[in-house]
């Protein structure tokens, strides 16, 4: 009986170890993309740290039931999107997990990054879009998601994504035309392009 128990322990421990190893591999692959996704949308480092920590905590808890392979990355963007949306709805909290990131955050280095005062027509047009359109277009432009991945990230199907993307691009074009003194007749937003 004792031997059985020890065998069982070994099996379970192996399972836990393997789970940790699989998670760690995914974590190392997706840590930078999730940091990028989050810091492109959340400028406050503490809020960003909280969102990143919560996103990976969700992945850890759901790891055995989360999508695998190519579907995992967009799914995790979807998790991050919902976490950030909850923050914006006022559901802010400071967890001990995020402290680990906040304690190491390099504010000075971060402040020197990225275009902070982009005054281009495109920037103005993009800023004029709804949150929903901006998120959709930035998932394509910044995260490089395909239509299939967009569908996974947004929890919808490819047809809906195609329609929403078409409309978002159209609205961006209209906003750009409104911003530009000279309407850019050369801008053609076609559905043939990879999303």
């Amino acid at each position: 009986m004792d031997g059985d128990a020890h065998d069982h322990d070994g099996v379970m421990q192996n399972g836990v170890t393997q789970r940790r190893e699989r998670f760690e591999a995914v974590y190392r692959e997706l840590y930078a993309p999730i940091c990028g996704y989050t810091l492109r949308r959340v400028r406050d480092p503490e809020d960003a740290a909280e969102a990143i920590a919560e996103t990976f905590a969700t992945l850890w808890r759901r790891f055995d039931r989360s999508p695998q392979g190519d579907e995992l990355r967009p799914w995790l963007f979807g998790v991050a999107r919902r976490v950030i949306a909850n923050q914006r709805r006022g559901e802010r909290r400071r967890s001990a997990l995020s402290e680990r990131l906040v304690a190491n955050f390099d504010q000075a280095a971060f402040d020197t990054l990225g275009p902070s005062d982009d005054t281009s027509a495109l920037a103005h047009a993009f800023a004029a879009l709804s949150d929903s359109d901006r998120e959709l277009l930035s998932l394509v432009a910044w995260e490089g998601l395909s239509r299939e991945e967009l569908a996974a990230a947004l929890g919808t199907n490819r047809a809906v994504v195609r329609l929403r993307l078409h409309r978002a691009r159209k609205r961006l074009q209209e906003a750009l035309e409104a911003v530009n003194a000279r309407p850019p007749a050369q801008i053609r937003l076609t559905e043939g392009d990879r999303a």
């Binding site: 128990a5 069982h8 322990d9 379970m12 421990q13 836990v16 789970r19 940790r20 998670f23 974590y27 930078a32 993309p33 940091c35 990028g36 989050t38 810091l39 400028r43 480092p45 990143i52 920590a53 990976f56 905590a57 969700t58 850890w60 808890r61 055995d64 039931r65 909290r93 400071r94 967890s95 001990a96 997990l97 402290e99 680990r100 990131l101 190491n104 955050f105 390099d106 280095a109 971060f110 990054l113 990225g114 982009d118 495109l122 920037a123 993009f126 277009l137 930035s138 432009a141 910044w142 691009r169 850019p184 050369q186 801008i187 053609r188 937003l189 076609t190 043939g192 392009d193 990879r194």
Partner: protein, 304 residues
């Protein structure tokens, strides 16, 4: 400009690249988050909760649990009777969570956790010795697997010992202790809580700058094993809160007074407060442990 080049142009609006964003939190931040996340219990999608601390492990056979719920948690290793465990598995209406024990009444702890999680009262619950060295709580209406026996309580002294060791206020996490200091502290905790005949061992570790803060409490061998690990940051919110709470632990107050003082000290932070009435104590004891969030436990007499 084609749609493709429009998208290309939009890329220039990106405030920060993935690489720069990750670098902003440093390699240390990345590794510390990984360690923190991998210590969380798993099995349920829910808000962050206390990590499965280094408690005497338990095994639940996956197949048995699947017979009860659609998901199952994987616990660790069994050694001693279920009563001498310091965590409990709550399997209620498809929700599956392993939580640290608090009150010594597993069904009560699961009910409280369920209510916190879902905002509604759970059905009537029953705690079982799951025949694999652990305690599992099921709805009264569920039929337990063969061999499971109802269990009323867990060893409250062991639960308090674990809290006391993990504590950030006065326990092994209150500072970066070396092996000698940590051993003395653990022996003092064992003595204060009445654990006669127990010993403290230190697991050897390689590396410099380690803090002896991790521990394994094993009732079967009556041993507390201390483990040196890489230090956590000292400027964290939970370390600062521990600094604020430490003076409170020097005074002798009732449970309600201590709980009120803890709430005031932790105002503005995300935390979970558990109060446990224990009229055998003269003064309230306050413990701060950390997992997915800050967990504050106050044990003490209703009145002084």
């Amino acid at each position: 400009m084609s749609a493709r080049s429009l998208i290309d142009s939009m890329r220039s609006l990106s405030p920060v690249s993935d690489v720069d964003a990750a670098a902003a939190f440093g390699a240390a931040g990345r590794e510390e988050l990984l360690e923190g996340v991998a210590r969380l219990p798993f099995g349920r999608a829910a808000r962050p909760r206390r990590a499965a601390r280094r408690r005497r492990p338990i095994v639940v056979a996956l197949a048995v649990v699947v017979a009860i719920a659609t998901t199952a948690a994987t616990w660790a290793v069994l050694r001693a009777p279920a009563r001498e465990t310091t965590s409990v598995q709550c399997l209620i209406r498809g929700s599956d969570a392993i939580i640290p024990s608090t009150s010594g009444d597993p069904a009560h702890d699961c009910a409280l956790d369920y209510k916190r999680e879902f905002g509604t009262a759970p059905p009537a619950l029953v705690a079982y010795d799951n025949a694999l060295g652990g305690v599992t709580v099921l709805p009264q209406s569920a039929t337990p697997p063969k061999g499971w026996k109802p269990i009323r309580s867990q060893d409250i002294a062991l639960i308090e010992l674990q809290d006391s060791l993990d504590d950030y206020i006065n326990g092994l996490n209150s500072g970066c202790l070396d092996d000698t200091a940590a051993t003395a502290l653990a022996q003092a905790k064992l003595s204060r809580l009445g654990f006669a005949g127990w010993k403290v061992a230190v697991r050897s570790a390689n590396g410099t700058g380690l803090c002896t803060s991790a521990n394994v409490v094993d009732p079967a061998t009556k041993t507390v094993t201390l483990i040196p690990v890489a230090p956590a940051g000292q400027a964290t919110t939970f370390a600062k809160l521990a600094d604020k709470l430490r003076p409170l632990t020097k005074s002798c107050v009732s449970l309600p007074a201590a709980a009120a003082a803890v709430r005031a000290a932790a105002e503005g932070l995300a935390y979970q407060l558990d109060t446990v009435k224990d009229n055998s104590l003269r003064c309230a004891a306050i413990y701060e442990t950390v997992g997915g969030t800050i967990f504050l436990t106050v044990r003490g007499p209703r009145r002084q």
